[in-house]
């Protein structure tokens, strides 16, 4: 792993599919906090060819990582405490996504009543399919937004 400043406490998100680090940066709301964040793009990886890595210096448990598996199921989360990797875990698909993605079905009630939260539920874990809680429309494969 590259060493871009050692982290005392926080997370190292490894094995991110190359090119998706910024997407995760925004989804985790890292643009809205003043923690130290290192974004490593296109790092060499034996297994993946190229990968992205995200290092976040922050109190452990202060990030909601639910969204990760939705964006990329192969991410490894390293939990860092006292400068050491305390835990390495694979991410799991969240049962529900609230205001992470938006329903684009023009027939959906959320298209006319814009104050409603956009809620998606995990309809099929094997096929990684999320559906809108209101209209059940399938969320289409994630694209870079």
């Amino acid at each position: 792993m590259l060493n871009v400043g050692k982290i005392e406490e926080g997370y190292v998100l490894d094995h991110i599919q190359a090119g998706r680090a910024m997407l995760i940066y925004h989804h985790l709301g890292l643009d809205k906090v003043d923690w130290t964040v290192a974004i490593i793009k296109n790092a060499r990886s034996n297994a993946m060819g190229r990968k992205d890595i995200l290092k976040v210096e922050c109190p452990v448990d202060s990030l909601n990582l639910d969204v990760l598996a939705f964006i990329d199921p192969n991410i490894t989360v390293n939990v860092i405490r006292g400068g050491e990797i305390m835990e390495k875990k694979k991410v799991e698909l969240p049962k529900e996504l609230v205001n992470v993605i938006r329903c684009t079905n023009p027939r959906c009630i959320t298209s006319v009543e814009t104050s409603l939260p956009h809620i998606f539920y995990l309809a099929d874990p094997n096929r990684r399919i999320y559906r809108c809680k209101y209209c059940d429309e399938k969320y289409q494969e994630i694209s870079d937004r």
Binding site: C108, I109, V112, C132
Partner: protein, 309 residues
Amino acid sequence: MKKRDLLTPLDFSKEELDELFDRADDIRQHPEKYAHACEGKKMATCFFEPSTRTRLSHETAMLNLGGKVMGFPSGSVSSATKGETVADTARVISCFADIMVIRHPKEGAAAVAAHYASIPVINAGDGGHQHPTQTLTDLLTIRSLRGSLDNFTIGLCGDLKFGRTVHSLINALVRYENVRFVFISPEELKVPDYITDMLNDKGIPYEECIRLEDVIPKLDILYMTRVQKERFFNEEDYVRLKDFYVLNKAKLKRAKPDMYILHPLPRVNEIAADVDDDPRAAYFKQVQYGVYVREALILKLLNIDVDKL
């Protein structure tokens, strides 16, 4: 106790549906026993888009139970046109009525209403999404005609791609034993993948075909739906295929003597008038069953136990 709503046909377990259908049977046989069950209760029918048959069916059900009804028949006469949200309408109606029936052109509107209302909400159609009381009606009709919801072959004919009543019915029937599906539709209007994926996952047998005549002899129930001209890509295909999805006396000759014909209505020309007198034509009975099942539903959602009154 947490309030219950009916938003999708799967909101009730199989056991709850059995109870509901038993109650509907009892209502059919002993209507007088239920004539005052909802005395003092009010039902609001909030129809943001018109559907006269569905609204009158709910209102008839409530009146049969001795309750009162109020509401609006279309969005143009409600404050929705002034920009009131479904959430606010639901909160307001909760102050007036004991139970709310909502129909809305947008998908998921009933779920929003149920979330914000403090009274039970019945989804009477939310766009092309769900229409659960139609599904309950279909299930009760099949159960009453056949005596059971297990062990039969159902043919679903017509527009299987956009027809929400068809999707809901399939999703409800897969919970019963040994139900076999035959999908009869033009290539353009086949059942969506998520339905066939679901059937494959559950190992439930189905077949797909283009012509009704080819499969009619094996059916125990034939569920007809409308094939709309505008669903076809071109006029040529429509003209070529439309007669495949019309049921008439001639085609009915090859059907079993106890194959019942259902249709969610309104029909246009997909069932010829010469079929109406056939004893197997059950689509008008279906309308009557729709009232019974809605009566049973209202009692269930209002927690009214007639046996204890």
